[in-house]
Amino acid sequence: MTRVGVVMLVHTALHRAEQVIRHWVAGDCPVLVHVDANVKSEEFDRFKSSVSDLPTVQFSPRHRCEWGTWGIVAATQEASEIMLRDNPDVTHVYLASGSCLPLRSVDELHDYLAGRPRVDFIESATTADVPWTVGGLDEERFTMRFPFSWKKNRRLFDGYVSLQRKLKLRRKIPEGIVPHMGSQWWCLTRQTLSAILQDPDRATYDRYFKRVWIPDESYFQTLVRLYSPKVESRSLTLSKFDFQGKPHIFYDDHLQLLRRSDCFVARKIWPHANRLYDTFLGKSGTIKAAEPNPGKIDRIFARAVDRRTRGRPGLYMQSRFPNEDWENGVTCAPYSIFEGFSELFEDFDEWLSKATGARVHGHLFAPERAEFAGGQSTFVGALSDCAALRDYNSRSFIRSLVWNTRGERQCFQFGPHDNQTISWDIAKDPNAQISVISGAWAVPLYQSNRNFADLRDEAARLQKIEAEHLDALRSIYSKARIRIWTLAEFIESPMEALQTVVDEITGKSVRGLTEAPRMVDLAGFGQFLQNLKNQGMHPYLMGDFPVDPVPTNEQRNTRKPYLVR
């Protein structure tokens, strides 16, 4: 008949350990308790007397159990020996800690083990195949010496590791064993455990593992491979580790998750989680034969680790402020910038929002104010349209805008009139889709009614700004999706260009665009450019714009809107 003996390693929260011991004993399990030698003797005595009414509870000699050192293994070995010696009817030994909480009744555990005779439940994997380790020591934990404490003498520890690396010092792994590692918490059969403990070569193995890094996660995990007829490489104890290698802690609000996980034991429980202790130790409940299924808990903890190591892309906040190139996404979603389009088309904003369904703003970086869609004075997230606030940190402004509007694509106009501070930021952002009609800023100049000398100066200024901006876009650092047409190129086949851009935004190219935005009348524009040239100001960003015939008085037909097919 199956009978589980529990070896329990205790170092804090002794009152909780006592509760759990009573639970095991009530299920007819002998318990062998090891209390860390660091616990004060008065505290130990009080604890010992608190369970003195339980005849099947024994205490083993106390070892000093510092994390990552041999003490834990030595304590486990000795306690297991006593357990096997004094309880001849014990068929399995379950290694648990004082902060482990049994989630299912002992009978269920007995039934489960009885249904799987001679199976050892111990997580055991070779170092080469799993990326579990934290801090870069995987295979090396078996080939180096670790005489210094990682917790207390971190510098010595690290120094000695790098010294050994430099001198290429390697220890020999004892013949016949292949290092494996895995969770410290196992459930082994009497046959396997006694074979490990009574191995004629045990002294050799012990000597070797004494200087291995974290032997409690590798000693039994390695040796079990020598003797076990069947290793089921998983732990019956639900225990999840975070990115620093310390166990996740369970609280009262995990109650439903734990209940549904159908695991036998969970670790580690916060000692003040009263509801968990009351619920799981109090019930007698119905007996289920369910297989442990920690999937949901696994996912929650995996997400937590992911959040801590990778974070939410495009988020900048009080506890996430990545260095350049570590952003994992400078912004959180794709957005589009149009340069020169609203100058060339009369109703571009409306047309674009109709064609793509995206949110289309005006010039967000205009000198007077941020021209939010619909002329609003604030926008999502209570972003203000105030130019001073925006320019105070324009990088935060655009990142906030994209973050705040997650789920809705943002488009805005940009041009040489606008604040250019973000020029490099958008150029380097892979989420930015930038479409430029270079030189289109000259169109409003042409339409305006100003003195030509002013126009000439203004044109020279804008051309210089746009040229600098284009340098950024064309530099080797730019990562945005960038398309640049000269004005002359663009007006040759505007629909084709618009189609490409729109397709990229909507992510499909099912139908051709049925409606075109209305282009401004460019008659005489070529001559305007020629006039600038005649004044010594060469507008080159527009490309080779044809000079119209010298204007005559003849009546012209008004231009029809473009229609495709």
Binding site: A304, Y316, M317, F321, Y392, S400, N404
Partner: protein, 336 residues
């Protein structure tokens, strides 16, 4: 960081500590119950002036979170708040009539109490209008957080100041003693904050929110700092430098991750914008005891005279910490 700079910061820290010791003479004991403090108690330190109306809710809020002892400096209140505090069983009170400004806006006094009583304790340093919110605060007590921080070897915990305001003019609904201020001021700005790194102290400098939006359009650089590190496992060698915005040694300011991940963080709900502010702003302007020549209060008085409404169409209504987490104002980090 070079040796020279780290040496200078060390000197600076010493200077603040010496100053704190010197300024202890400003403080006169009103009620000293510090002998009740036990080894693992969580403490709260606050400086206040005429905040009687907020006190009942403030104490209840933090007692419910699991604060074991309150250490409070009263800067010459005349509204009965000091007497009320002195009657509480878990509060120690000191009184001072000395200048708030000359004690670096109360920080010297706070540093003294921290040095004297908080060594080895987790301690929250907050204002009476700040309510601390952290991940899982609805289901886990503060002790769960500090235990987790201990286990993760984290010594300081960030909580950005989030300005809360009512919908409509702030004097429209009167705040009554004992009420939850969040029932009146329950709106906030979710995404208009700017962040810069402060190279000298390594902290982030966060600005923005409704105050920047409404009162500091002309000079955004003067809008108040919102970054705070209110929860620290204190050591008598630590010192707050400027309010609770930053500390020395500077490692305590590294509450943010620089390699793409998110560290766990909380929020201080700032319930300043209640009807009580209008009176206070005028008084504080006369006293001239606030930071940067009371620039902030000048702006309030100018802005609040015509009963400015901080609420806008895109304001967010406060629900709970999970909402703040989703909006990206705070994070669970790897606490799950």
């Amino acid at each position: 960081m070079g040796l020279w700079r780290s040496y200078r910061l060390r000197i600076q820290r010493r200077r603040w500590l010496v100053r704190a010791v010197r300024k202890r003479r400003d403080l006169k004991v009103v009620a000293d119950r510090t002998s009740q403090i036990r080894g693992r108690d969580i403490l709260l330190v606050a400086t206040m002036r005429n905040e009687d109306v907020r006190l009942p809710f403030f104490l209840k809020y933090y007692r419910d979170l699991g604060v074991n002892h309150f250490l409070i400096i009263d800067n010459d209140s005349d509204d009965g708040g000091r007497e009320y505090l002195a009657d509480q069983p878990d509060v120690s009170v000191w009184r001072t009539g000395k200048s708030y400004k000359r004690s670096r806006f109360g920080i010297d006094w706070v540093n003294w109490l921290l040095m004297r009583y908080a060594h080895g304790h987790w301690v929250l340093t907050v204002d009476p209008d700040e309510l601390f919110v952290y991940p899982f605060c609805d289901t886990r007590p503060l002790r769960a957080l500090t235990d987790w921080l201990d286990a993760s070897s984290i010594k300081s915990f960030s909580a950005m100041l989030l300005d809360m305001y009512p919908k409509g003019p702030i004097s429209a609904i009167p705040y009554r003693r004992g009420d939850d201020p969040l029932e009146i001021a329950n709106w906030f700005d979710s995404g208009n904050y700017t962040i810069q790194r402060n190279p000298a102290f390594g902290n982030l400098w966060i600005q923005g929110g409704p105050r920047a939006r409404e009162f500091f359009q002309d000079n955004p650089e003067r809008s108040p700092a919102l970054n705070k590190v209110p929860l620290v496992k204190w050591n008598r060698r630590y010192a707050y430098v400027s309010s609770t915005h930053m500390l020395l040694p500077r490692g305590l300011n590294l509450v943010y991750d620089e390699w793409g991940g998110e560290k766990a963080s909380g929020i201080l709900l700032h319930t300043k914008f209640l009807d009580t502010l209008t009176v206070k702003a005028h008084e504080e302007l006369l006293r001239k005891q606030h930071y940067a020549a009371s620039h902030e209060y000048k702006a309030y008085v100018a802005g609040l005279q015509d009963d400015t409404d901080l609420w806008c169409k895109w304001s967010e209504k406060y629900i709970n910490w999970r909402q703040l987490e989703i909006l990206g104002l705070m994070s669970k980090g790897n606490w799950a």
